[in-house]
Structures are given as structure tokens and as C-alpha cells.
């Protein structure tokens, strides 16, 4: 028997706001979370633009032992997960007695690793590193820490799928619940923000070096875009079987109805029309929907010349020219490993509050983006069903379709 899968908890620790209420206001007002980070200039970055979040103070919530294995990805993810758990009516006591899984997206721990290596270089003795670093250094750091803190007893592994990590985490959780293998899964994505994390990415020359205000640097689909802006934080999406959600009277933010995925099997960094086309088409087919059923597309579009034009063509070819499209990366920058999860949270906030957040800085289309319906400013609109795209290095693609819940 297949199970319907609903979303019963969401949380965000984002450059648009460190809680859902603030994020919602930023989305409504098209407020950018991008800053100019002077530290990056000194470090040798080509581009100094970045989305920014504050280091959270976890002392009021966690013991020393719980905190010591956490660096930025886990710290940010704790904050978004705490908000999602509270909103969903879940606590450690309930989770300890039931079976809840955790599948989180994360694909780097550069800041933690550099700090650890610096300690060994200074002390020349590994026994002076301390006990927490190993749990900060591993890519599964979010899973290790959150499963321990919340006493989670179900499936427990990390998705590392570049900039599609967060989206695939929701997709994998969806498949497990749909098949009846899990009742509830904590999904999400985390992205560290520090100069160590993005230096090699900056070195590829793909970040914006626009001589303008930071809020104008990320301009997905705009003719004059010149590259992406890195960003980070964390987002959590708790998903659950409909039976379980109804049984515990949980809030329901939406229902996942389609998960499409593909691998390009091509270039390691260049996007690929065929791979994106297959991912979008598969999501529609899995959801048993037609293009006219999609009311909004939250595009992956990161503000790179080649990436955005490839996605515009894929959207046009699968969904046509009418469906409203925006890239919230115009405000957040590219939240990378977190983006697939955060953009589902942003889209759920839009769906539950009847509006489309603007694709800010979209001033002029190019020959590709003119084929699709990009929304450049806040628009009130009912959304019954949206599609969220995420594409990553290595040619990994993920498309999720989520509907407003109806019994």
C-alpha cells in the first residue's frame, strides 16, 4: 500500500531571516540577504558578495557535550530544525518513543576541517585536537548531531548531492514514507558560510563581480547577470505519512506528490538541457499531473549565464511559456547544499499565503528567459501546486512537486 506524504514541519535559518516570520516578510518585500564581506577580499577572493547569517548562540538550548561536535552546518541546522519541530508539535520525548528518520543534505565541512588541521599544525599532536572535531569534520555532521539531540530512531544518513542535496533529501524521505518504510522523516539542507567553504568555487570565476550594491549582484534570468552569489544557513522540512499527521493532529503545510531526478552523465560543472528536461518530466509523470496543473515554478536559476538559460529552455519545453517562474536566489544568493530544502520552505510560505515572491533584479530578458513567464515583483496569486528545481555539480538533478493539502 502506498502512503500519501505530507509536510508537517518547516523551519529556516536563512539570510532572509532567522525564523519563518522574518523570512516571510523578506519574501513579500523582495528583500535581499546579500552583503559585501570585506574578509573575503583579504583572503584572496575574486568576489566578496555573500548571503550572511549570524552564528547562533546554542548555549540556552544545548549542553556542552551536545554543542562540542557542531560547526556551522550542524549549528545552522539545529536552529532550523528546532523551529520545525516546535511548529510541528514534536519533542524529544515523543521522538524517543516513536520511529522518526533523518535524511539531511550537506556537502562540505571546510571551515571545521581547516580549524582542526590548523590545531594539529600548531601542536604537532593529534591528542590535543579535542573530542568534538571529528564530529564537526565529517560530512554527516548534521545527521550525527541532530539524531543524537532529538533521539531519532529511524533511517539516518546524509545526502551529498552538491547543490541538489536539500532537494534530494526531501525526495528520498518522500519515497521511504510513500513505501511505508518510515512514518516520519526530518529532511533539510545545511550550508556553511565561511571563506574556507567557497574559495575553490570562487576560483572557478563563476561568482558575480558586478560593481554595484550587493542586493543587485544576484540577478537570475536577467540579460546582464554575471555570476552567482554564494550563501548559506539551513532549512528543515519534516515530512510524514498522512495517517501519522492526522493521528497526532499535526499542521499540514502541503503534500508531496512528485519527485523527479536524473543524472546528466556529461560535464562535471556545465548544466545539461536533457538532464533537466528528464528530471522535470519525471516529476510531472510521477505526480500524474499535466503542465497546466503547475501554478508556480521555483527555479534553480543561480544567476550564471549558462545555468539560467539552460533551465529557461527546460521549463519552456516541459511546462510552456505561461507558468509563473521566480528564482528566490535573486534575494538569497545560492544557498548550495541547503537550497533545495530552503526553496521548498520559501515556496510553501508563498503557497500558504497566496503570493509569488519576486525574482528581483530581473530587468531585461535574454533570448532564453524571454520564453518563460518570470515574475519580477511581488504578486498576489493563489498557488495550489508548485514545482521546485535543484541542479548540482556532477550533473545531479532533482525536481519536487508539492500541492496544497486537500483531504
Amino acid at each position: 500500500m502506498e502512503h500519501r506524504v505530507v509536510i508537517t514541519g518547516i523551519g529556516a535559518y536563512s539570510c532572509l531571516g532567522e525564523d519563518l516570520d522574518t523570512v516571510l516578510e523578506s519574501l513579500r518585500h523582495g528583500r535581499s540577504g546579500v552583503i559585501y564581506d570585506e574578509q573575503r577580499k583579504d583572503f584572496g577572493y575574486r568576489s566578496c558578495f555573500t548571503g550572511m547569517v549570524a552564528e547562533p548562540d546554542l548555549n540556552p538550548f544545548l549542553s556542552r557535550r551536545q554543542r562540542i561536535g557542531m560547526h556551522q552546518p550542524a549549528r545552522f541546522a539545529f536552529m532550523s530544525t528546532k523551529e520545525a519541530m516546535e511548529g510541528s508539535g514534536l519533542d524529544a520525548d515523543f521522538l524517543d518513543k516513536t520511529e522518526t528518520g533523518i535524511i539531511f543534505g550537506n556537502d562540505s565541512t571546510a571551515g571545521a576541517v581547516v580549524e582542526t588541521v590548523d590545531k594539529v599544525r600548531a601542536k604537532k599532536n593529534t591528542t590535543l585536537i579535542g573530542s568534538g572535531d571529528i564530529f564537526q569534520n565529517m560530512n554527516s555532521t548534521v545527521n550525527m548531531n541532530l539524531s543524537t539531540i532529538y533521539k531519532l530512531k529511524g533511517m539516518n544518513f546524509t545526502i551529498s548531492a552538491a547543490c541538489a542535496s536539500g532537494s534530494h533529501s526531501i525526495g528520498m524521505g518522500y519515497l521511504l514514507i510513500k513505501q511505508g518504510l518510515q512514518e516520519r522523516v526530518v529532511c533539510g539542507g545545511a550550508q556553511e558560510i565561511n571563506p574556507y567553504a567557497m574559495a575553490s568555487f570562487d576560483g572557478l570565476g563563476t561568482f558575480s563581480v558586478r560593481d554595484a550594491a550587493p542586493s543587485m549582484a544576484s540577478r537570475p534570468f536577467d540579460r546582464d547577470r554575471d555570476g552567482l552569489v554564494p550563501s548559506g544557513g539551513a532549512a528543515t522540512v519534516i515530512i510524514e505519512s498522512l495517517e501519522s499527521a492526522l493521528k497526532r493532529n499535526a499542521p499540514i503545510y502541503g503534500e508531496i506528490v512528485g519527485f523527479g531526478f536524473s543524472s546528466n552523465g556529461d560535464h562535471i560543472s556545465n548544466p545539461n538541457f536533457d538532464g533537466q528536461f528528464r528530471s522535470l518530466s519525471m516529476a510531472l509523470k510521477q505526480a500524474n499531473l499535466t503542465p497546466k496543473d503547475i501554478d508556480y515554478v521555483n527555479a534553480h536559476a543561480t544567476s550564471t549565464p549558462i545555468g539560467d538559460s539552460t533551465e529557461a529552455e527546460a521549463i519552456f519545453n516541459v511546462l510552456g511559456s505561461k507558468v509563473p517562474v521566480s528564482s528566490t536566489k535573486s534575494m538569497t544568493g545560492h544557498e548550495c547544499w541547503m537550497a533545495g530544502a530552503s526553496e521548498v520552505v520559501y515556496s510553501l510560505l508563498m503557497m500558504n499565503n497566496d503570493f509569488i515572491a519576486p525574482n528581483i533584479n530581473f530587468e531585461n530578458p535574454d533570448e532564453h528567459s524571454e520564453k518563460i513567464n518570470i515574475i519580477p515583483s511581488y504578486k498576489e496569486q493563489n498557488i495550489d501546486c508548485f514545482l521546485s528545481n535543484s541542479f548540482g555539480f556532477g550533473g545531479t538533478n532533482s525536481s519536487l512537486i508539492i500541492k496544497k493539502f486537500k483531504k
Binding site: L128, G130, S131
Partner: protein, 81 residues
Amino acid sequence: MKREDIILTTKQFLSDEFEVDAALIQPENNLQQTLDLDSLDYVDLVVVIEENLGIKPTAEDFKTIETFNDFYDLVEQRLNA
């Protein structure tokens, strides 16, 4: 370093590192129970001792230690070695 200085210094950094009330760190109290140490915490105990006193006991050294008095004996012995 005199024993009273060792007591004063270690009380400060142990209560800071392990987040326990400094008043609970008394010579006759049990070190492991007072600081709520698990096996991983002994790694951090070595780190804070090295950072604050410049000596580096090993995990083996802590096997025979029960009270803070035992701990002060160890530190005193290593500092004066």
C-alpha cells in the same frame, strides 16, 4: 606552582570547560561525577590541562584518579617533574 595555586587555577578552567559550578569542585569530590565526564570528555580534559598548564597527561594517567585530590597530586607531580 604551589598546591593552592593549582587548586585555584584548575578550578577556574575546569568549571569553564565543563560548565559546572566551581563550588562543586572540592578536593574530596569525585572528579568524573562532578564534571560529568564520559569517555570522550577525558580527551578534552587533556586539552585544557595542556592549554592552561603546559603539561600533557595521557588518558592512562586518569585511570587511577577518583577525587580532585588525586587530580591535584597528578598535576603537582607533573609540574614539578
